[in-house]
Symmetry: C2
Subunit: 343 residues, 2 copies
């Protein structure tokens, strides 16, 4: 059933003419213990290890000591499918980088459920193979999050998360401030009637954008339109936009902005001449559109890096819960201009 059986420390011990305990000590004994094993013996053991390619079984290691220098990465959606890949890849890049720097390996938890129905705590919960775990995904299962928070397994979320019983450790992007800055910029350019186009789900990332928008809009500008449904035809959105008298439109999704821009162009309108458009987040694939939208940047790689560092801190030092929001720098772009006077 099981393929060729693994080498064990016992095998190494026999080959080196020592005991299993000695092999373990050579491998990772405390300095005080190591000092009592002469150079000669250590080298003999090391040599056998090197020639056989022996590596300690992570499961056993974790069993005995509780740590194995492996970080789990759990994604609520499969990480690589092409629609998702562009979303997850930058995070993974940052994570991989930092993990390597900290000398941890990454265990990609494929989850038990198929496709969309992933659950952390599904069958036999393999989570604990790793020393700790990063959790990412657009939508979190609140019940699972709560269970995680209340448990004693170290984890860090990527993306801001509301308290779930207790505060959730996370590294997120400061969408609220990013959005507010853009709204203020628009106001500075004379925009007084603003449209908000995007979903309004319970997800924190969505809520933050909306909060930033409405907070900034309230004092100075006027939100005149809020289109929730995103599957509406671009032409319809455009119509609503003009009917409302808005001079600037804030899009949560780049895709919507692109669609609306295309529709506008077809009508002979241009941005930002006829109206301004702002996207609340960085473009995943900028090259798909030839328009460089005004927006803010989401520092995904940096989020991955910092989340990883935070997780390691929690694993190694039982650090207190931290919550970090990274600044989302504005992206100048070319779709936000002075407000056009309408009649």
């Amino acid at each position: 059933m099981a393929g060729p059986k693994r080498l064990t420390q016992h095998d190494i011990a026999k080959l080196a003419g020592v005991s299993q305990a000695t092999v373990s000590l050579v491998l990772n004994g405390a300095p005080t213990a190591l000092a009592r094993i002469p150079q000669e013996t250590r080298e003999r053991v090391q040599h056998v290890i090197r020639t056989t390619g022996y590596v300690a079984d992570p499961i056993a290691r974790r069993m005995a000591k509780g740590l194995n220098r492996i970080l789990g990465v759990f994604t609520y959606e499969p990480a690589f499918p092409s629609e998702q890949a562009d979303f997850f890849t930058p995070f993974l890049l940052g994570i991989e980088e930092e993990a390597q720097a900290q000398n941890y390996d990454l265990l990609l938890l494929t989850g038990a459920g198929v496709g969309k129905d992933r659950k952390i705590f599904a069958d036999g919960n393999r989570l604990r193979i790793a020393d700790g775990c990063l959790v990412l995904g657009r939508e979190f299962d609140r019940a699972e999050l709560k269970r995680l928070v209340l448990g004693d397994y170290p984890f860090v979320a990527i993306g801001r998360r509301e308290d779930a019983g207790e505060p959730v450790p996370y590294v997120g992007g400061d969408y609220t401030s990013g959005t507010r800055a853009l709204v203020e910029k628009a106001r500075g350019l004379g925009h007084e009637k603003l449209a908000y186009i995007g979903p309004s789900g319970p997800a924190e990332s969505i809520a933050d954008r909306w909060n930033g928008f409405s907070a900034a809009a309230r004092d100075g500008a006027e939100p005149v339109l809020h289109i929730d449904a995103v599957d509406r035809p671009a032409g319809e959105i455009l119509d609503a936009l003009f009917a409302s008298g808005a001079t600037a439109a804030f899009f949560v999704e780049l895709a919507d902005a692109v669609r609306v821009e295309v529709a506008a162009r077809e009508r002979g309108l241009s941005l930002p001449g006829d109206f301004s458009a702002v996207v609340l987040g960085s473009h995943i694939r900028a090259e798909r559109s030839h328009v460089q939208f005004t927006s803010f940047n989401i520092p995904r790689e940096e989020m991955g890096r910092q989340a990883t560092a935070m997780l390691v801190r929690r694993i190694e030092g039982a650090a207190p819960v931290e919550q970090i929001l990274l600044t989302c720098e504005p992206v100048e772009g070319e779709t936000l201009g002075p407000a056009k006077k309408r009649t």
Copy 2:
């Protein structure tokens, strides 16, 4: 962080007034063993389990069973940095999908060396943490491959590999046939003088394309130009192309084809009117060019899936070495047309 110590079967046993073994049996004993535990006892145990919320520690479980259900993924280049991401992502997608289906987790080996200097057997090598391993990358280190093949650690390469001491288990793309088909198609359109533009390294993927090209070209068409160096200016390549009298150019790298096409357009030439161009492989990011080149598709996702399945077979059943080449379907494109008569 603070939490009561994890419950163990021992705790459950005490609460239910039975032994640890009984708890384990109730939880997942063989039917024959279960038959000997009366309903009443089972219910008592189940009740305690339910009220305490006990869940078996998956680590200990795997430890006892002897299987980790972890697949390693080793890449010869870091997988996520953006230049590489487009290359690796489709493979990873397939791998993740199949791993999930087979209920394995993925261990991404971040590699010891940073950047280009990755080695599988670098010391501190954590390869064997996993039950088996997938190896991918454009260029393999032959010495390492040999060591892998001769060892008894289950692995599967992605991409065809020459024997290295013994046959290498792999799942690759059939570039030879893919290339041959395209050459034959060109011949059918009247192309008799063909150019081959691309490197000719030792890598199997490169060799296969060249073999397919020269085999197909030999009977019917005539290879009249072979440009190895790829860093030459596009204009120069174009000059050489015309000087040779070739009516169709076969590019190994999409990037070269794009450059040459741009240069041609600048000279007022058009494809496939003035000459035909064929790319030997699928476009990683087609949208970067507005020209849809005639080429063949590399089924990267499927390669990932099948390689994963093959690896699982080897791990679980010690299956014999398999070598699979997947068909690379032609991509019609718009750059291959009838040969133009030259003077």
